[in-house]
């Protein structure tokens, strides 16, 4: 995935963060979201291994051997931050105190199901905190490339891989589009710059409805 695409996705996700939110960002692309948080929005970043108020990575000479994030990378703590043990960390996660979590996905489907942790026989790293985060966070946002490297759809009618959780995804952000999972199904609500309804249609295997604004825009551009 090019850094342009990653930046595009991460910057769009960042717009979902509200002042005062407690936020958990998954490893990889979701971590980049922290770079795009607007200056007037103050959020608290949580790390599963036991902190709230996680700050950016230090430069090499300021690495603290006692201060790592859940990915094992050196980080810092911001003023007002807190450290705690793993049980409290997941009590916070499971207890609905995390306002928004951003995770990658192998597959996501129109029912809000997420598959992100296993490709049986090929990829079995374990579950980590993903199942708790997806079960417990108030909002689950999937941030991922729209298709696999081979160009296959990752947004499906039904996930085929082992699930991380059932029906917990509320938003999907890709380099092409933004989808929302609503009680009446999946909705395409935004196109990313340069993307077309047609391209999204070709690269998405799920059934979805299209927000009225987008239909109007397409009607206009078809004129």
């Amino acid at each position: 995935m090019s850094s342009d695409i990653r930046g595009l996705i991460a910057s769009r996700v960042a717009k979902e963060l509200k002042n005062g939110d407690l936020v958990n960002l998954g490893i990889g692309l979701p971590t980049l979201v922290a770079n795009y948080i607007p200056e007037d929005v103050q959020v608290y970043l949580q790390s599963e291994n036991g902190m709230i108020g996680m700050g950016p990575s230090p430069d090499e000479e300021h690495v603290d051997p006692d201060l790592f994030n859940a990915g094992g990378n050196p980080v810092t703590i911001l003023p007002g931050g807190v450290f705690f043990d793993t049980a409290l960390s997941f009590a916070i996660i499971r207890g609905g105190h995390v306002d928004i979590t951003v995770l990658g996905a192998l597959e996501v489907d129109q029912h809000g199901n997420l598959a992100s942790w296993s490709i049986p026989g090929k990829f079995t790293p374990g579950i980590g905190g993903a199942m708790d985060l997806v079960a417990g966070a108030k909002r689950v946002v999937v941030a991922m490339e729209h298709t696999t490297k081979k160009g296959e759809a990752k947004i499906l009618k039904d996930c085929t891989l082992p699930l991380t959780a059932q029906g917990r995804v509320s938003m999907i952000v890709t380099e092409l589009a933004v989808f929302e999972v609503r009680p009446d199904g999946l909705w395409l609500t935004e196109l990313q710059p340069g993307a077309t309804l047609d391209e999204v249609r070709q690269k998405t295997a799920a059934d979805y409805q299209i927000a009225a604004e987008l239909q109007r825009e397409e009607a206009k551009s078809a004129v």
Partner: protein, 219 residues
């Protein structure tokens, strides 16, 4: 006053087949792990957040083929654990991280289990009792205990009270309650009274033995 002992002396009492909780998060109490490798005790069941990295921390025990089974949330950082699993040379029970933490806490707290929404509708549900409370489905997860817990601390006082700096708390306070024999490796061992009663993270009553962390073993 808790005995301050040599790692090799206390580790030599661990029998083959023991179940051991290991505190840490992508790291481990290295002095105690090194003594376990030296002692070459076999057929261990390890309960831990992860299996660290290849041939580091718990990875050393994996590499040295001392581990029969791991109960853990994640093996993604250790390709050797994954290879041994694929070759069926190690048994791996993967547990969601928060569920694992809560199972250890339950084991130390005398609870018979707890109901969690984590894993409902996934493979984690398999073989477990599903209990519906107020219309919402939960998995009944059971407590975990171990014969031995190997912990790490930044500071220990001679009463066994532990202080874990910054992000090093992780599993240590939980596992301290859930094992029959608790051994804590500390970077610094101080006199009783030097850790304020208000800021102890792991009460000393749980800790049986203290070991001075070897300087060379500090990562």
């Amino acid at each position: 006053m808790k005995p301050i002992v040599e790692a090799k002396d206390i580790i030599s009492k661990i029998p083959n087949g023991a179940t051991i909780m290991v505190g840490g998060f992508l790291n481990a109490p290295e002095t105690l792990i090194d003594a376990l490798v030296q002692h070459n005790v076999k057929d261990l069941t390890i309960i831990s957040n992860d299996t660290c990295y290849e041939n580091q921390g718990i990875g050393k025990l994996i590499h040295n083929r001392q581990v029969k089974k791991v109960i853990t949330s994640h093996i993604g950082t250790n390709p050797e654990t994954q290879r041994l699993l694929a070759a069926k040379e190690i048994e791996v029970e993967i547990v969601p991280q928060g569920t694992l933490a809560e199972r250890v806490r339950a084991g130390g707290s005398g609870l018979g289990g707890f109901l969690t929404p984590t894993g409902v509708g996934t493979v984690v549900e398999e073989g477990k009792e599903v209990i519906t409370v107020n219309g919402k489905r939960f998995l009944l997860e059971l407590p975990l205990r171990a014969d031995i817990a190997l912990l790490q601390a930044s500071i220990a006082d001679k009463a066994g009270n532990l202080f874990h700096k910054k992000s090093t708390k992780n599993w240590n306070p939980l596992m301290a309650m859930a094992a029959d024999l608790v051994i804590a490796e500390a970077e610094e061992i101080v006199e009783i009274g030097e850790i304020e009663p208000d800021v102890v993270h792991t009460p000393g009553v749980f800790v049986k033995y203290l070991v001075q962390k070897e300087r060379s073993a500090v990562l």
